[in-house]
C-alpha cells in the first residue's frame, strides 16, 4: 500500500466540465508529476461536490480545503503553495465550505437503542475473525471460569442469574446443568439446538452468523460446568452461511487452542462438531434432534428419561438453544447480579424477537423481558404499515398463539403470558393489520402442520388431516356451524394424546384464534338458503 499523504479531488459534473474541469485536472496531474509529488499526492475525480455556479471546484484532503473557480493557469501556484509548501492558497479558497452532516434524521424504530446482551457483537464485529471477538472481551468468560471458578460455582452463578431456556419451554438453565452434572455417567454431551425451524423467525441465525465464537464460548462453559467432553451444534440445513461461519470459528478456536485438549492450560478438554439438519420441523424437539444426530429418523423419544440423564447415545446430555447459550458468556463474565438488572424480577434478561408482517420496519430486535407487545410493535417495529389498524399478532410462529388487541399491554415474559408462555421461545411476532384474514392465517398454519406431521401417532396424523379439511371449508365460505367446535375438540384431543409437541401444540393457535376472532371465523360459515 503506497502512502498517499494528500488527495486532491476534482469535481466532475456537467457544470464543472463546462467550466473546464478536464483541463484543470490534466494540469494538476502534470504539475504534481513535475514537482515530483506523484507518489504522495493522488488526483481523484468525484461527482458533484454540491457547489454550483462557481466554476471548477477542487478539494484538498486531509485539510478539507475547498477551492472554487480554478483555471489551468492557477494550477502551478496551487500545487506549489498548498501541496509543496503546505500553505493554502487564500485567493481561491471558498470562504465557506459546504456544511457537512446536514442529514435528515429519519426515525427507524429498529435502530432505537436496545439493551443488547445476546446480540452484543452481532452486526458489530467481523464474525470471521477470532481476534475481533477476543478484542471484544471474547473468551474471557471461559478463562474466568477455568481459572477462578469450580464447575459447581459456574452452575450456581447460572442458577442465580435466573436464566431460563430461550427455546420455548423456559426450563431453568442452571437446574438443567445441575441435573446433568449429577448424573453418574462420566461421559456427557452438550448439544446446541440451532435447528431454528419455526416459520418466520431467524433470531438464532443472527447469532450463528454474526457472533459464532460466542456460541463456542457458551458451549465451552456449559461443557466445563457439567463435565462434558464433546459438543455438537445441530444447525438447520438451510443455514449455509451459519454453517460456514461456525466451521470457520471452530477451526480458528482450535488453532488458538481454545478448543481441544487442556484448554488454557487447564485439565478441561472439549471439542465441538457440527451436524446439519435435513429440514424436518420436528427435529427442533430435543429428543427428535438427538435421534437425528445419532443417524436415525427424527422421531421424538418418550420422556422420561430426559436427555439430562439419558440423551445422546444414552449419555447425560444438555440440549440448549442458541440464544440460551449466547447468554452464558455474558453472565459468567459480568455476574448474575448484572444479568438480573435486565428484565423482570421473575424473568431476568433479554429476549430476541423477529418482527414481521404488516409493520413498518420488520426485522430483529433484542429487548428486555417484560416489554409489552405494544412497545415491540410501535416502538421497535415502527407501527403498523400505511397507518392501518392493528388487528392481532401471531406470536411464536406456527405453534404460537393469536393475540388480540387486549393483549397489547401484557408484559411479555414467561410468567405474565401464562398459558401463552411457550410462544416466547421462537420470538416470532407476525403482525396483522385490519385487512388480514384470520381464517387464511389459520389455514396456512394448519397446512404447515399437516405437512410436517410424521404420521407416527394417530392423533396427529389423522387430526392434522381433519383440521385441514375443516379450515379449507371455512376458507371457501362453505363452513358448517359445528366446525368451530370441531376445530377446538380435535386440537384438544391432539394436545392431550399426541406423542410429541408437534401434535400437542396446535391447540394453542386454534384456541387463541377462536378466543379473539370467533365472529370473523363464524362469518365463514355458509349461510342457510332462505
Amino acid at each position: 500500500m503506497n502512502m498517499v499523504r494528500s488527495h486532491v479531488l476534482i469535481s466532475i459534473d456537467a457544470g464543472t466540465i463546462m467550466a473546464g474541469a478536464r483541463a484543470v485536472e490534466e494540469a494538476l496531474v502534470k504539475e504534481i508529476a513535475s514537482q515530483g509529488l506523484a507518489e504522495e499526492i493522488a488526483v481523484l475525480e468525484t461527482g458533484s461536490i454540491g457547489i454550483t455556479g462557481r466554476g471548477v471546484v477542487v478539494v484538498v484532503y486531509p485539510e478539507g480545503i475547498y477551492y472554487a473557480g480554478v483555471t489551468p493557469n492557477d494550477v502551478p501556484e496551487l500545487v506549489e503553495e498548498h501541496l509543496l509548501k503546505g500553505r493554502p492558497l487564500k485567493r481561491l479558497m471558498l470562504a465557506e465550505a459546504p456544511k457537512r452532516y446536514v442529514i435528515k434524521r429519519e426515525k427507524t424504530g429498529l435502530l432505537k437503542e436496545q439493551p443488547r446482551v445476546v446480540l452484543r457483537n452481532s452486526g458489530i464485529i467481523n464474525p470471521e475473525s477470532i481476534d475481533e471477538y477476543i478484542a471484544a472481551q471474547g473468551y474471557e468468560a471461559i478463562a474466568k471460569a477455568l481459572t477462578s471458578m469450580t464447575p459447581e460455582e459456574v452452575i450456581s452463578e447460572v442458577k442465580s442469574s435466573g436464566l431460563s431456556g430461550r427455546g420455548g419451554a423456559s426450563f431453568p438453565t442452571g437446574l438443567k446443568w445441575e441435573f446433568a452434572r449429577k448424573a453418574p455417567d462420566p461421559e456427557k454431551y452438550i448439544i446446541c439446538n440451532a435447528d431454528e425451524g419455526e416459520p418466520g423467525t431467524f433470531k438464532d441465525r443472527l447469532i450463528l452468523e454474526g457472533d459464532p465464537h460466542k456460541l463456542i464460548e457458551g458451549m465451552l462453559i456449559a461443557g466445563y460446568a457439567v463435565g462434558a467432553q464433546k459438543g455438537f451444534v445441530y444447525i438447520r440445513g438451510e443455514y449455509t452461511l451459519s454453517t460456514e461461519r461456525m466451521e470457520k470459528a471452530i477451526t480458528e478456536a482450535k488453532a488458538y487452542g481454545l478448543l481441544g485438549a487442556h484448554i488454557l492450560d487447564s485439565d478441561f478438554s472439549f471439542d465441538i462438531f457440527i451436524m446439519k439438519g435435513a429440514g424436518a420441523y420436528v427435529c427442533g424437539e430435543e429428543t427428535a434432534l438427538i435421534e437425528s444426530l445419532e443417524g436415525r429418523r427424527g422421531h421424538p423419544r418418550n420422556k422420561p428419561p430426559y436427555p439430562v440423564t439419558e440423551g445422546l447415545w444414552g449419555k447425560p446430555t444438555i440440549v440448549n438453544n442458541v440464544e440460551t447459550l449466547a447468554n452464558i458468556p455474558e453472565i459468567i463474565k459480568n455476574g448474575a447480579t448484572w444479568f438480573k438488572a435486565y428484565g423482570t424480577e421473575k424473568c431476568p434478561g433479554t429476549k430476541v424477537y423477529t418482527i414481521l408482517g404488516h409493520v413498518a420496519t420488520p426485522g430483529l430486535i433484542e429487548t428486555e423481558m417484560g416489554t409489552t407487545l405494544r412497545d415491540i410493535i410501535y416502538e421497535y417495529g415502527g407501527g403498523i404499515k400505511e397507518g392501518k389498524k392493528f388487528k392481532g399478532a401471531l406470536v411464536g410462529g406456527a405453534a404460537g398463539a393469536f393475540l388480540g388487541p387486549d393483549m397489547l399491554d401484557v408484559q411479555m415474559d414467561f410468567v405474565n403470558l401464562k398459558e401463552y408462555a411457550a410462544v416466547l421461545g421462537s420470538g416470532a411476532i407476525l403482525v396483522m393489520n385490519e385487512d388480514a384474514s384470520i381464517v387464511e392465517m389459520l389455514k396456512s398454519v394448519l397446512h404447515f402442520f399437516k405437512h410436517e406431521s410424521c404420521g407416527h401417532c394417530v392423533p396427529c396424523r389423522l387430526g392434522t388431516a381433519q383440521l385441514v379439511e375443516i379450515v379449507d371449508r371455512l376458507a371457501a365460505h362453505e363452513g358448517k356451524k359445528e366446525d368451530l367446535d370441531k376445530l377446538l375438540k380435535i386440537s384438544k384431543v391432539m394436545r392431550d394424546t399426541s406423542f410429541c409437541p408437534l401434535g400437542q401444540s396446535l391447540y394453542l393457535p386454534i384456541s387463541s384464534a377462536l378466543k379473539y376472532f370467533k365472529d370473523e371465523i363464524l362469518s365463514h360459515v355458509k349461510q342457510a338458503a332462505s
Binding site: N2, M3, V4, H7, S11, A42, L44, E45, T46, G47, S48, I49, G50, V59, Y61, P62, R100, Y101, V102, I103, K104, R105, E106, T108, L110, L111, L119, N121, S122, G123, I125, N126, P127, D131, E132, I134, A135, Q137, Y139, E140, A143, F202, R205, L206, E209, G210, Y239, L241, S242, Y256, G257, L258, L264, D265, T361, P362, G363, L364, I365, E366
Partner: protein, 119 residues
C-alpha cells in the same frame, strides 16, 4: 494456549484494530448476514472495493460484519470516520454505492436520501 496468551492476543487484537482505524480515514462496514447477502450485500461490498481501488483511496478500508436485525433495510452499511458521527445507509445497491463513494467517502457529503440513521 495459556491464560497469558489470551491476554496477549487481546492486547494485540485491540492494538491492531486501533492501528487499522488510525491508518484508515474511513472504515466502511458492510452487513453480510443472510438477509444482507440475499438483498445484494455481496454486490455492494464488491462495488465498494472496486470503486475504492479505482480511485486509489488507500486510506479507506472495507470490512464485513453480521446482521444487526434491521432486515427490511438490507443491504446496510455503516461509515465510520474519526471524530464524526457514524452514518448508516440502508437499502443499498451498486449504483447507490457508487454515489456514496463519490459524494460521501471522497467529498464528505453524506448522501442523505439513503441515510437511515446517524449516531
Amino acid at each position: 494456549m495459556k491464560l497469558e496468551d489470551l491476554k496477549k492476543i487481546r492486547e494485540k487484537a485491540e492494538k491492531d484494530i486501533e492501528l487499522r482505524q488510525k491508518q484508515a480515514r474511513i472504515r466502511i462496514v458492510v452487513g453480510m448476514g443472510t438477509s444482507g447477502i440475499a438483498a445484494g450485500a455481496r454486490e455492494v461490498i464488491r462495488t465498494f472495493v472496486d470503486e475504492i481501488a479505482k480511485r486509489n483511496l488507500s486510506d479507506v478500508i472495507v470490512t464485513q460484519t453480521g446482521e444487526k436485525g434491521l432486515a427490511s433495510q438490507e443491504p446496510m452499511i455503516e461509515v465510520y470516520e474519526e471524530g464524526k458521527p457514524v452514518v448508516v445507509y440502508g437499502n443499498m445497491d451498486a449504483e447507490k454505492t457508487k454515489r456514496v463513494v463519490a459524494e460521501h467517502i471522497v467529498n464528505g457529503n453524506p448522501v442523505s436520501e439513503y441515510v437511515i440513521e446517524v449516531r
